[in-house]
Amino acid sequence: MDLHLNAAKASAEERVAMDAALKQLESSPGDASLTVTSDGQADGNVPTNGLPTRSKRHLLLPVLHAIQERVGWISPGALNYASLQLGVPPAEAHGVASFYEKFSLAPKPPVVARACDDIACMTRGAGALCAELERKLGPAGKPCSLGKAIWQRSSCLGLCERAPAALITAAGEKPRERVIAPAYAESIASAVLDAATGKLPDEIDTLNAKVSVPQDGRSQLRLLRRVGQVDPASLEDYRRLGGYEALRRAFEWGPERVIREAIESKLLGRGGAAFPAGKKWEAVHQQRESNRPHYVICNADESEPGTFKDRILMEGDPFAVLEGMTIAAFAVGAKRGYIYIRGEYPYATQRLEQAIHAARAQNFLGEDIGGRGFTFDIEIRRGAGAYICGEETALFNSIEGYRGEPRNKPPFPTQSGLFREPTVVNNVETLVNVPEIILNGGAAYARIGTANSSGYRLFCVSGHVVRPGVYELPFGPTIRDLIEMAGGVGGTGRLQAVLLGGAAGSFVSPKELDTPLTFEGTRAIGATLGSGVVMLFDDSVDLEQILLRIAAFFRSETCGQCVPCRVGTIRQEELLQRLIARKPLGSKEQESALLKEMAQAMRDASICGLGQTASGAILSAMDRWSLFL
């Protein structure tokens, strides 16, 4: 295939930004050793554009980031240049760039302030905050600060324990990112002004564990035990607190025993799907004779509204994530791994970068780790504003430089994952459990918690609660216990509803608070733990508006690939708008029946979990409360 480029040319600035990014990517120890040996067995909508080995397509996402960060948008000339450098047809590169919220394909001011107006922030004044911003900076989506800045509303930024939240990005020679939470209109406006005048300092935020991890009795904590106690930039500090002990033990055991213990631990994935981690590893390990490269991916996309636990682990204890990944890689025989982290997590990204750097310097990553003949390295890939890229197969496509559209399963990732090779994908929290299992043994781990939910679990408590934050529990306590630990119901003090598991989860009523927070306990009431979200709403909250925001979330985050979800999510939002306006088509009962029918088709016929769960929370609320009367 010859590339046919249109006439647009990149500016010098754009070329410099891309050249620098490419040079850095190509010299990174992780990527330099990459051998793409895809057999080209393309899923239909993933063109491989000839021999995959000739293309540098898997560098497309970071190169697009580099242009966006330098210039503030991606021009036709810049896209042409990227296409040429990477051997990607421009129509395809455009298809990829236009998939992500963070990339702009039209001129945009360099400073962008995103103010979260999602459900946790709604309980903490996001509505008033946005109204105030409108008064101070003008309407959302319109340039302000002499055309140098723009503010816009955003879905959950993963900062819900400090709601309401905002994120500021400033493109330029020295790009800047700044998180503001809790955010006030004044603090946002002044940061926007600083950014527009080049005065935003380049500093990295230190997690305030007292705010984000409010739990008493710290000594019992396992997953969170180092958060706030350890210097996240120091490998020595990590080792002083027991870090890399588990990796040493794993080396002594050998891969087979590591996998056996992982299976015995009954550890279920914490990313939402609750699949046994050990089984997944075993399936990939079994293909070690096949001569195909294996991959381990840490899923740090964390974009489920109300979820922020992975961010706290990464910001507070980044080496633990690397150690968990390294053990997983040793077990399954992977030489390389990726951490796919959501684009809205600047500090967690920097912490991980520092940690990878330090681990390489001390031979905890790289060749012949610890003198054991085991080679493994990790690359970070930043997402660019697409919830769907947390779905594991969409994540593969995103890393490979394709649109983040999920693939049909089967084949499953353990057979055909990243670059169509056997791949383990685990959530951050899942991986942080791994050293615990190795140090205490699988059987001991399995005894913690309940029969069907072993071990420890992180819960993201937010909304109307006295002490929001991430809480760690051995499985077993009920929703009520957790609320008590978090200081009780906030706001008016009178609880109306709890959202379990995030936007893809379900609502439960105050009558159901004695439900144990276990996989089986929540399943028994038709709910799910999902990503560990426990969001409280007091009786002043207009639940109808919360449901509408959830519907809007799915409408804006569907990848658009399959019909039931692409059209179903917008029809669902339209239907809720009609009900809220008290202007139903026919009667309310007819609308209700229509919603149920749409929900069934979305659940049954959608390709991935997004479409399959897009109605779950809304229906669960309509079942429990008489809304839209």
């Binding site: 899923d43 554009n49 455009h94 658009g560 692409r566 059209v567 009609r578 049954d604 016929a605 959608s606």
Partner: protein, 304 residues
């Protein structure tokens, strides 16, 4: 090692392993499955769609075409497979020994109907005849979403002499992008862009076709199931109300331009050629042509 085998960049070293041997394909085994209560034996690697066909069961499909890699995105072909929580796409799901499949259960009918209603409520399906037939079969009522339901309506793109892109009629089946890409033409002039309800087929930055990589093979027109892509002559005749397939004849012939031997189907109406296509099952073309075969006949009706 020859020049060509040198890695193009340090990034992707060519594996040092010896050149792979061409594997001798293992004999394909028989697989027995049950569809709607009837047993059927098909070869390993067959899809549920293939198996259903051998039983004479007609499965609706929109994004599937024999000559293209299945993208399984339209979901109109879904069937119920025992043991699977969601329904599965018949067009791409391979049979497995002992599979029990239902193609006409309540759940299957509901999903197929709702998918058709979703499409017809958001897209102009006036020239999508196959889709209309499915709507009848499943008693789809797209008007149930009300008059204000969002649609993809937009002005047609008429930027060249040969064909029109009217994306108000596009159901986003991905077929044209596949035909333009690896599945046939390898030109990559068009791809899927945007996200969600606004995902659509586009050239880069929506530039006109004439500035894009398009080579006017028209293979995208050949695979489009809705009339969103249409030859200019047909488009103009439809606009003028003179297009009438009942008055058209089809003549099979071989393209006179080069030695490849592509089979052409020449559609004419009132002594004028109005469209040229090629049969999907022709061993040479698989339905694909080049600009000469597909459009290079206009001199036959030049009046200048």
């Amino acid at each position: 090692m020859s020049e060509q085998l040198q890695a193009p960049s340090p990034l992707i070293p060519i594996p040092r392993a010896p050149a792979p041997e061409i594997p001798v394909p293992a004999a394909r085994r028989d697989v027995q499955i049950t569809i709607d209560g009837k047993r059927v034996t098909v070869l390993e690697g067959a899809t549920i769609l293939d198996a259903a066909k051998t039983l004479g069961i007609e499965t609706p499909t929109l994004c599937f075409l024999e000559t293209l890699t299945p993208v399984n995105v339209c979901r109109v072909c879904v069937v119920q497979v025992e043991g699977s929580r969601p329904l599965v796409p018949a067009c791409s799901r391979k049979v497995e020994e002992g599979m029990v499949v239902w193609t006409d259960s309540e759940r299957v009918r509901l999903s197929r109907r709702v998918v058709l209603e979703f499409l017809a409520s958001s897209v102009d399906v006036s020239t999508a005849l196959q889709l209309q037939a499915y709507m009848k079969r499943y008693e789809a009522r797209p008007e149930k979403f009300g008059p204000r339901a969002a649609t993809v309506v937009q002005p047609p793109k008429i930027d060249n002499e040969l064909y029109v892109r009217d994306y108000s009629k596009c159901i986003l089946c991905y077929k044209c992008a596949e035909a333009c890409g690896v599945d046939a033409q390898n030109t990559f002039a068009i791809g899927v862009a945007g996200r969600g309800f606004h995902a659509h087929i586009a050239t880069e930055f929506e530039i006109p076709l004439t500035d894009s990589a398009c080579v006017y093979c028209g293979n995208c027109i050949g695979v489009c199931p809705t009339g969103a892509l249409m030859g200019k002559i047909e488009y103009d005749m439809r606009a003028a109300g003179t297009w009438d397939e009942s008055r058209q004849t089809r003549t099979e012939t071989i393209c006179p331009y080069c030695g490849v031997g592509c089979e052409l189907t020449v559609h004419s109406q009132a002594g004028q050629i109005v469209r040229v296509s090629s049969p999907l099952d022709h061993s040479v073309t698989q339905g694909n042509l080049c600009i000469k075969g597909r459009f290079g006949w206009q001199f036959t009706q030049s009046h200048k």
